[in-house]
């Protein structure tokens, strides 16, 4: 019979050791410190609030201090959960076994700007908007642009392998990180680059490509303490164009045509389904009315030098028109694109089945699905969601987005998002389990259609995590477990995330 390693509790001895190692002021056990780092925006079983509170919060300011914390955690066998911005949508930063919460936000320095070689080296606690404010006078920018752009931070983007709204032009986080400094679970500090160790070289074949191994680990394999990032020329022109369609089928075909157009400046193609258009019609102060005949929308954005964008815009508008699209005007296009970071999930748009307004939290599904499967996935996910709404009455269907997902080229696969409102205030264990079952059904549909469970948030949660072995297949998940055990022999770093508690089942550890 397999047994799982149960992590040790954080004792006074652990606290004392932490205080001695990094200083008393950076070690906090007060409830305020712990409550503030309990949840992320993903749906949260608020009726079991205290279960997810860490025991102690540490606020290191250097790689050496991170290393000291991890060594202590190994010594005492207590869990460490790294937390960056805490804006993730899949619980990567939520403690499952309490323990030490390692918050990297104090590490927010810009270490070096190298305009000659087009790199900037930063600590991981820096926010992208702040970085771009710093870079603006130099005519360069760092194009990692998630919905949480004004607040999320670089360490979390690396930890989750984030997706960028303009990634089809500029790449996503993993394409924008040139090299990393990582503290391994056992405390060693290493520098890893693409296929080698040179901090500013983008492509090498000297060694294994270890850099990518540490991007998207959800803090299960290491803590990033420094990153060298790619800089692009600040775009001279940025054009957003939104097109309306009389049916989803038309919009879907048009999405395919636009994303395979070959336009190099095309930064994003985003398809909104009928339910999403309905959701956005729920009154709010920023809503720009759409004609009733519009049932689906495709949003596009072009970024680049002015000459290129001008020429590409002509082609883009012609292509959209030929495939049934109606341009929705400058006001809607520019306005909606400008508010893209804030507008698409608002708690007060939550509705109970009888129309009552309640503040709902937001589940943002983010499977990666190939183009051919999008209509089928859409149908299945809506059917599943609506069934649970009918039965439990505390969920709400906020419609679907399909975002181009392929870096540097918009075709192929899509980040598919169904947004579901959850009235957390009314949750109890029964409805929470209903929610997890809803998630499971969505995940099963993803796998049935050759999709990946998560394009960017991570598969850390119940409802996702247990399907990782299914998606990876026996050999793939076996390898993941081996790597985890090799690097983190005592299972201290973000334990039980990504179903990796299975890496420590006695009979498998062997010996």
């Amino acid at each position: 019979m397999a047994t799982l390693t149960v992590p040790n509790p954080v004792t006074d001895q652990v606290i004392t050791a932490l205080e001695q190692a990094i200083g008393k002021e950076k070690v906090r056990t007060d409830l305020g410190a712990r409550i503030a780092r309990t949840r992320v925006p993903a749906p949260f079983p608020v009726h079991r609030f205290a279960e997810y509170m860490p025991d102690v919060v540490v606020l290191p300011e250097s790689a050496e201090e991170v290393s000291a914390v991890l060594r202590i955690a190994n010594q005492f066998r207590v869990p460490v959960v790294p937390r960056a911005g805490g804006t993730g949508l899949a619980d990567g930063a939520v403690p499952l076994h309490k323990g030490i919460l390692l918050d990297i936000k104090k590490m927010n320095k810009i270490i070096e700007l190298d305009l000659v070689n087009r790199t900037v080296t930063v600590q991981p606690g820096l926010n992208m908007l702040k970085l771009n404010e710093y870079l603006a006078p130099y005519g360069v920018f760092y194009p990692d642009d998630p919905a949480s752009y004004p607040v999320s931070i670089i360490g979390g983007r690396i930890g989750t392998s984030g997706w960028s709204l303009i990634g089809s032009r500029y790449g996503h986080t993993r394409d924008l990180v040139i090299s990393l400094q990582v503290v391994l679970p056992t405390g060693e500090i290493v520098r890893l680059s693409d296929g080698g160790g040179a901090p500013k070289v983008r492509k090498a074949s000297t060694g294994y490509n270890l850099k990518q191994l540490f991007i998207g680990t959800q803090g299960t394999l290491g803590v990033v303490t420094e990153a060298t990032l790619e800089l692009f020329p600040k775009p001279e022109a940025e054009l957003a164009a939104f097109f309306g369609y009389e049916s989803f089928a038309d919009a879907y075909r048009s999405t395919g045509a636009l994303s395979t157009s070959g336009l190099g400046t095309l930064a994003a193609v985003i398809l909104f389904d009928e339910r999403k258009v309905d959701y956005l019609r729920r009154d709010d102060e920023a809503y720009i009315p759409l004609p009733e005949r519009i049932k689906a929308v495709v949003a596009t954005a072009l970024y680049g030098v002015e000459d290129e964008v001008r020429a590409a815009a002509n082609r883009l508008f012609r292509l959209a028109k030929e495939t049934g699209g109606e341009y929705l005007g400058d006001e809607l296009s520019a306005g909606d694109w400008a508010s893209r970071h804030d507008r698409y999930a608002t708690p007060l748009h939550g509705r109970l089945p009888d129309g009552t307004v309640v503040p709902m939290s937001w589940h943002c599904e983010d499977a990666a699905i190939i183009y051919s499967e999008l209509p089928a996935i859409k149908q299945k996910w809506h059917e599943i969601t609506d069934r649970y709404i009918q039965k439990y009455g505390i969920f709400d269907n906020w419609g679907m987005f399909f975002y181009s997902n392929n870096p540097y080229k918009g075709w192929g696969d899509y980040l598919v998002e169904i947004d579901i409102g959850i009235w957390e205030q009314a949750l109890n264990e029964e409805t929470w389990q209903a929610w997890v079952n809803l998630k499971r059904e969505i995940t099963r549909a993803t796998l049935e259609h050759q999709g990946s469970i998560s394009a960017c948030h991570g598969a850390c949660r119940e409802g996702d995590a247990e399907f990782i072995p299914v998606e990876l297949g026996e050999g793939g998940f076996e390898l993941m477990k081996k790597i985890k055990r090799l690097l983190d022999p005592n299972n201290i770093l973000n334990p039980s995330k990504n179903y990796l508690h299975l890496a420590y089942v006695d009979e498998e550890v062997g010996a």
Partner: protein, 421 residues
């Protein structure tokens, strides 16, 4: 108008504490719906505009943490005393409320804007009422205010009361005399009356030159705002009642206000204590100067050859949405080169002086002021112009260290009107 938002009944599970006490229940009742608006959003866009978070980088000093604590209290996972101390880490600037997607997109429609300033003030009051004794410096500050009838601005270190008889000493060496009472009253903020006396002098000269008759109160007391902000609403009301009675005795119809903190007390706090017919009209001096300029009642005759930028006082820009008049005035001053930083960017700016923050956390307040000055320095200006005497003390001090002059807008107006010659 929008639909009413419904709240679920509190469902208290055993979450570490045995039940929820009356004190938390009462607090939760007042704040839960708003707290859930934030807790279930989780966007945290407020964070990088928060002046305190920008210097502490500590997630527990953020608006989202303040709201999460309310939910934790509802669920029995925290008691008042477990979390109250965090609420001193706020300058009550209101930037977070503006940057909140709930406010930006749906708050007015659903009549459920995020109200973090109110939450922080109420928590400070609840903690004080519960006798937690968390903030000894605020306690002394409010006690000294009651003793001196004005804030103890002359001694931040030991917090000793000022002499209430000297509240109008600033007017002594003016070339004209100011009567007591009358329809138009000039209310001079504590900081300006005792510390930055050049400001009320400049304002008196402007009004005098514009031919606007005005008087002073018989006995001016602190507006009471800081007492409210530090957790003592009853003391705030006591001070306010005196001022309202004094205005009544003077026959005041209009009160000119030269300080944003006073102004927000008068337009936000006083209406909670008094019916509208008992209150005079409150006129913010910057607005009034802009109006006088429009009407041609004052003129700028003396060029000021300087390159400056402007600091939006938080209470005006972030909490009351007033940011146009000062820019108009600056653009009208001859010789002045004005390099503007727009008011939305300035949602993230603060001097650190507000909400009692500098009294309780002087070291962090200094970091906030240093950051504000550093941002002005990046513009290669010779001076930073502010319109808030509370901001001017820390900004002047940081400005001295970073070699940047800090000016007051109304003093600059008096100078440009040639009133100092």
């Amino acid at each position: 108008m929008g639909d009413e938002v419904r709240a679920a009944k509190p469902d208290v599970a055993a979450n570490g504490h045995n039940g929820v006490r009356e004190i938390e229940q009462e607090f939760v009742r007042d704040h839960l719906l708003q707290a859930y608006g934030c807790f279930s959003s989780g966007h945290k866009f407020c964070r990088e505009v928060c002046p305190v978070y920008q210097v502490t980088r500590n997630e527990q000093h953020t608006p989202t943490a303040f709201h999460a604590n309310v939910v934790a209290m509802e669920k029995g996972a925290a008691r008042l005393e477990d979390v109250a101390e965090n609420y001193s880490y706020c300058t009550l600037c209101g930037g977070c409320e503006l940057r909140c997607p709930n406010t930006l997109f749906v708050g007015d429609f659903y009549r459920n804007r995020t109200r973090t300033v109110k939450l922080v003030q109420d928590m400070r009051a609840a903690a004080t009422k519960a006798g937690l004794g968390l903030w000894p410096r605020w306690q002394r500050w409010v006690e000294a205010t009651l003793q001196g009838k004005n804030e103890p601005v002359l001694d931040y270190e030991n917090i000793q009361p000022v002499d209430p008889n000297r509240v109008a000493d600033w007017a002594k060496d003016l070339p004209f005399s100011i009567p007591q009472g009358g329809e138009n009253i000039l209310f001079v903020d504590c900081e300006a009356a005792y510390h930055r006396t050049s400001l009320p002098k400049a304002v008196a000269k402007i009004l005098h030159a514009a031919g606007v008759p005005f008087g002073l109160m018989y006995e001016q007391w602190c507006c009471g705002g800081p007492s409210l902000e530090m957790g003592y609403p009853d003391h705030a009301r006591y001070l306010a009642e005196h001022n309202v009675a004094d205005w009544k005795k003077a026959g005041a119809k209009r009160v000119f206000v030269l300080d944003p903190h006073d102004y927000i007390s008068f337009v936000e706090m006083y209406p909670q204590f008094f019916p509208p017919e008992e209150l005079p009209e409150f006129v913010f001096m910057i607005d009034f100067v802009a109006q006088l300029l429009d009407e041609g009642k004052i003129r700028f005759v003396k060029p000021i050859e300087k390159t400056v930028t402007y600091h939006d006082p938080c209470r005006m820009n972030k909490r009351l949405g007033k940011w146009e008049a000062p820019r108009k005035i600056l653009r009208a001053i001859p010789g002045l080169t004005f390099i503007d930083v727009d008011h939305v960017t300035q949602w993230a700016y603060c001097s650190g002086a507000g909400g009692g923050f500098a009294v309780e956390h002087p070291d962090l307040a200094k970091k906030i002021a240093d950051l504000r000055i550093a941002r002005a320095k990046e513009l290669n200006v010779e001076a930073l112009v502010s319109a808030c005497p509370w901001s001017e003390r820390p900004l002047t001090s940081s400005g001295r260290e970073q070699q940047l002059e800090v000016l007051d807008l109304l003093e600059l107006v008096a100078e440009a009107m040639g009133l100092n010659d």
